[in-house]
């Protein structure tokens, strides 16, 4: 039987990063092809090339033996390729039927043929064994059902190839089971599917074949039932690059941050400790509640119970200013929207959290500001021609350093890094790591939230693992392995699936 889709020798580079290197991948009719890999392994880039959002630098693509010449979103749509995104693309205030037929409504005379559309929508949903009133508004549906509507919408236009991008990240177990039922049904109809996921157990559940990617390269492609969990985890993680992580382990000093039984909306009973000179890793799947813990500690979000101490003093709740003044700081994952004022200069961004201390008399002196900022710019090796350069013109790594400089200057004692190296190229990464090491040498404590396992293992002294809002384990970095962390992170997630499988 011929292949539904074949991609040969695809390469794609972005400025400074080689995102994809010589990728071959194919898809059969009625097959679920699972693609695994860490963040930044190139999965999303590959799928964006498939959907025409990106153009490949080199390589060929065939759909049903026909070569696709200039792929674009329009072309890929006409070829029957559909993406089901993580973030749903539905209009909340419209009904199920209106969403399915959005932009391709059926008319009878001058009025919409609502009856027909409702009937068709009902039928389509019924084909997936979901009897839903097509007049129901999307906002009244659960996320799982919304996803079904999205699939239905894709199918309404004769989709041959579906791409699921982390479809289960926001679903409950029963919703996942429902999704898998529909995926099996689609398989029988001959629809080919790429399935991107972080959740390894799903692979065994629905995957036919699996491809593992790492650093923009394809590591292997094999039948799903011929590979063990351990092989997969090794494949995803790869070898450690030892010298990338310069952290020198030493005896931890005094306890700086102590959290007892912190409970919030998305996490429960979290107790952690960060000592001076220590880098504490916090691992877990996306959505495990790690960022929420950090936000609650900072006083950004409300928390329902528990307490936290910084150097013995209780941290106030819902008062960011006090928390910052006491010496706890957060370097958010989303630097551009939460960390920096892009239209202002390096100087203004660096000085902002320290101006009260530097200028208690309210009146600033630009000369003093420049001196202090220049000092930090030199110390942190921030590559810029002038401290008056606007931060929007800096690279991701340099921007991150500006945020570090800001908190260093404000004499923070504990730094919470949320995904410190996401979107930063390898060279800048090691600089950030060296910086973190330098911070601990000066007696600071670091809590590092990261989904990047090598980073967690390479940099941390101790590792906490979170899963679905619970702290499920604490490991000493010397003994921890990627396999162990992954097993813990998946621990709470599996029962429902095991029950079925």
């Amino acid at each position: 039987m011929s292949k539904l889709l074949e991609i040969k020798g695809v390469c794609k580079s972005f400025p400074g990063v080689k995102a994809l290197e010589d990728i071959d991948i194919d898809l059969d009719y009625g097959e679920v092809h699972v693609i695994l890999g860490e963040n930044g392994a190139g999965k999303s880039t590959l799928m964006k090339i498939l959907s025409g959002a990106y153009q490949a630098d080199t390589g060929e693509m065939f759909v049903e033996e026909q070569k696709v010449l200039h792929n674009s979103p329009k072309v890929s749509e006409s070829l029957g390729i559909r993406m089901i995104y993580q973030e749903l693309n539905l209009v909340e205030e419209l009904s199920v039927a209106q969403n399915i037929f959005l932009g391709k409504e059926q008319y009878k005379g001058i009025a919409l043929n609502k009856k027909q559309m409702n009937e068709n929508a009902r039928q389509m949903m019924a084909n997936m064994n979901i009897l839903v009133d097509p007049n129901t508004l999307i906002k009244d549906l659960g996320v799982g059902t919304q996803q079904m509507v999205e699939i239905c919408k894709a199918l309404s236009t004769n989709a041959k190839i579906l791409v699921f991008d982390e479809p289960t990240s926001s679903l409950t177990d029963s919703e996942i089971a429902e999704l898998f039922r529909i995926i099996r049904m689609l398989k029988e109809k001959g629809v080919g599917m790429f399935y991107i996921s972080h959740r390894l157990e799903e692979l065994k559940e629905i995957g036919d074949r699996v491809t593992i990617m790492r650093d923009g390269k394809k590591i292997l492609t094999t039948a799903a039932d011929q590979i063990s969990m351990n092989e997969i985890i090794e494949g995803i993680a790869g070898r450690k690059i030892e010298n990338l992580f310069p952290h020198t382990r030493k005896e931890p000093g005094d306890c700086l941050l102590e959290v007892n039984g912190l409970t919030g909306e998305k996490f429960r009973n979290v107790s952690i400790k960060v000592c001076a000179g220590e880098i504490v890793g916090m691992s877990g799947l996306v959505g495990a509640g790690r960022t929420e813990v950090a936000r609650a500690l900072m006083g950004i979000d409300r928390c329902n119970g528990g307490e936290a101490f910084l150097v013995g003093k209780p941290l106030p709740k819902n008062n960011i200013q006090k928390v910052v003044d006491m010496g706890l700081c957060l370097l958010p994952e989303n630097r551009k929207t939460e960390g920096l004022a892009l239209s202002l200069s390096i100087r203004e961004n660096t000085i902002i959290s320290s101006i009260n201390r530097l200028f208690p008399g309210l009146i600033t002196q630009k000369k003093k500001e420049s001196q202090v900022v220049s000092q930090y710019v030199t110390d942190l090796n921030i590559a810029t021609s002038s401290i008056e350069k606007l931060v929007q013109y800096l690279s991701g790594g340099t921007q991150q350093k500006v945020v570090v400089a800001k908190w260093l200057m404000s004499q923070s004692k504990v730094f919470i890094f949320d995904e410190p190296t996401r979107g930063i190229d390898v060279g800048a990464k090691s600089e950030i790591y060296r910086l973190m090491d330098e911070l601990t040498k000066q007696g600071a404590g670091i809590l590092m939230i990261s989904s990047d396992l090598p980073e967690i293992l390479g940099m941390s002294d101790r590792i906490y693992v979170m899963a679905q809002g619970d702290l499920v384990g604490e490991l000493d970095a010397g003994e921890a392995t990627q396999q162990e962390i992954l097993r813990m992170a998946f621990k709470q997630h599996s029962p429902a699936v095991e029950e079925v499988g």
Partner: protein
Amino acid sequence: MNGNNTTVIKRKKFKISNLPNSTYIFGVLFIIFSLCIPNFFSPSNLSNLVVQASPLIIISIGMSMVIMTGCIDLSVGGNISMTGVIMATLLMLGMPAIFAILCGLAIGTCFGLLNGFIVQKMRVAPFIATFGMMGIAESIANIVSKKRTVYWEPSPTNELIKGVQTNLFQIQLGNKSSQTLFLSFITIICIVIAVIAIYVFKKTAFGAHIYSVGANEEIARLNSISPVKIRMAVYAISGFLAAVASLLYMSRINSAQPTMGDGLEFQAIVAAIIGGNSLRGGKGSIPGAILGALSLFAVRNALSLAGVGTSWVQVFIGVVLIVGMIFNALVYWWEHDRKSSRKITVKGAVQQ
């Protein structure tokens, strides 16, 4: 897992809490005023109330469409003054009424299109673009009218204008003048426009497309809906409806003033917002805006019947808006808090 598992999701039944906020606001105000203010609940006053509210209802319909796409139209009031003055001047010069009306409607629509052009093609933020256009329209109104009220001589050629404000019928329900129920052509025009607007919104794809552009431009584009076309269209509609409102105004007062539209854009925004529109776009309803406009005029009417000065009315409208916005926010939070429990979830095969 067996194959005949089905998930049944029934649509939520009609619920009073799903109505736009303006429904309750109007309901409560109406009952209070009827009970407390003599003469409020009389046939002639209610007929009159609808006539007074008609222009505002009409522009609120246009305004709520614009707001649903995530934009705003501050130039409506200026547009009313401008088209009114132009139509009145044409009548004054002895032009036939039908010509004047068509000119007015065409100018109003073009003005709306120009708003759409500046917002969508020149990428000027809607607030600033229509704010500037408001100044331009007010200025044109002043220039054309030379800052004076424009009158016209009644003549056979402009009887049409007079016809707009005549009553289709009057029913004497008692022997007092307050017991006259009447239906003016102004009311009929308003009802016709409201019906057409609701029809187009519900029965064609236009409504759904407006929602999708307002909720997320990206989704609209993915579904081959052009945000540019939709926004140009709603601005043009808003401009057209402003011209219609202007026609109703000037036929009622038999003249046109260069200031007659001042502040109306604000009242239309108030009506749309207490009618459930969000300034972020993507939600709201036309009936909600209509009831919002009626609520505002119920307040005005009742306050004037009760002998409260017009000054208080201004304060009151400002307060109504603030309270309405806070009320909307509270409803939003309340819904948001209960969202997880309220959502209909798939009953999965595993649990069955």
